[in-house]
Symmetry: C2
Subunit: 264 residues, 2 copies
DNA sequence: CTTGACCTTGTCGTGACGTCAAGGTTTCTA
DNA sequence: TAGAAACCTTGACGTCACGACAAGGTCAAG
């Protein structure tokens, strides 16, 4: 047999057979005078055996191990390990499809937020925010959009923030239309701080109102907030404040300090 | 933020962020005077968005498409396509695990043949052959082992042989201990032909006995065997005959010719 | 004599990064 | 104040199982 026929018998390509030669999985056969490889039946038997193992999902290295060893025990172990691995893959795919199903449903409802695929709870809140905004006159405050981005970011990030209080805040805002209206009032007042100085009297007013809006249980769940350094200049926190106008940043800083005092 | 902190926020490595820069998925940020990349909040938002999509299983190209397009429809399509793909993967893994379960059971029974993982039917036949061999005096005929290799090869190959008659032959031999004993008589007689000439009178005798052993329905299922050229020198068939002693090959050739006449 | 179907070796590409290497910078600690 | 630890930079190679291509040589049929 020449390489093409051998490959056809085993249901692979010639390239695959040559690859097996290079990695030492299949021995190079003798050559005819013209340089063509000349295979015997033994080669076909070996190749089919290799193919059956790879079709199960074994890597070429694993196949080499199985074929090298005095088979009987090694094969069983490898198969068991492979099965365990496939089980993990199944589970991982199942979870992803579960998430996907939720997102696809949101897409059908038209409630899939532009911020990207987020959790169902966050999508619920974003939907409520869209409804709230449409019930109020004028365009949506820019601060509301920023808040959505921040929430989406925190939820997908591995900071401790996502631990507990974020979920609580999202839940209470998402389920309480009146609270959302009050939040939108605050977003509007925040927007108005855009051009103000950090010593503007409205800064402290807004900071106080923000804390007033937070339910007690959310504040309780923020234990550990005391270690939060609002004056950190360089890192993630600094980048967050740099994203705001000076007076807005100052208002947020003051609000956080108020929460820190409350928790203490 | 520097790259390490950005990466930590999103739960990826710095290398991943740099990779996204190179493929254009995330824009290169400004540099500090020392050459370090300096990220703002916007970058974190984008990176987390990218990560959420990749975690669902989208490729970086698909993520780029989703982020580039005026999102809302594209995303839905990509997610639906992804879900369909995951479903296919699930099915494929399910099938492989099903095969694996059979093999693992064989391994527990100790009936996993050394020829490698084969179908349950073939494993059954090989087990029956092992039992038959142990019931008879002397070592197993070499021809029996060759036949096993050939069956394993044909079953895993994409030749038309595996179409119908092989399964019939395997089934009838595997379920009929007496037939297997007759087959072992023939294997022994085949072995005895190893050093004989092609004109030995035993050649024709064995060929006739082989055909006698084949059930009529198996012969019936071999329609098309007429086109089989037993004198083909070079290909798979030639390699098969080359694997046998001359008189053995001649006996097989004559047996095939007898079947061809029967079918006609 | 050409056409087409084979064969040869060698090299690059795939996807999403991991892992050095060989340096420069910043920050913490003794 | 020195040095170590922990950052950062670019660049290049490795992963895995081949597919695709290049640039040829070989062989049988029309």
């Amino acid at each position: 047999m020449r390489i093409g026929e051998l490959a056809a018998v085993a249901g692979v390509t010639s390239r695959t057979v040559r690859h097996y030669h290079r990695v030492g999985l299949l021995p190079e056969p003798i050559r005819r005078s013209n340089g063509y490889r000349q295979y015997d039946l033994r080669a076909a038997v070996e190749l089919v055996r290799i193919r059956r193992l790879t079709e199960l999902g074994l890597s070429l290295d694993e196949v080499a191990d199985v074929l090298a060893d005095d088979e009987g025990r090694e094969l069983h172990e490898v198969l068991a390990a492979l099965d365990a691995d496939l089980e993990r893959q199944q589970e991982s795919i199942r979870l992803r499809r579960e998430r996907l199903a939720g997102l696809l449903e949101q897409a059908r409802d038209g409630t899939l937020p532009a911020e990207g695929p987020v959790s169902a709870e966050l999508a619920e809140l974003f939907g409520a925010m869209a409804r709230t905004s449409s019930e109020r006159p004028g365009p949506e405050p820019a601060m509301a959009a920023k808040e959505r981005e921040l929430f989406a970011l925190l939820e997908g990030s591995s900071t401790d923030a996502s631990g507990g209080w974020l979920a609580g805040l999202v839940g209470s805002l998402g389920s309480d239309p009146e609270a959302l209206h009050r939040a939108y009032d605050l977003y509007t007042r925040m927007d108005e701080l855009a051009g103000a100085g950090t010593d503007d009297p409205r800064v402290a007013e807004v900071a106080g109102a923000v804390v007033e809006l937070m339910p007690q249980d959310v504040i309780d769940s923020m234990a550990g907030v005391e270690e939060f350094d609002v004056d950190e200049g360089d890192g993630f926190v600094g980048a967050y404040f740099a994203d705001l106008a000076p007076a807005q940043a100052e208002a947020v800083r003051q609000a956080i300090r108020l929460v820190q005092e409350r928790v203490r």
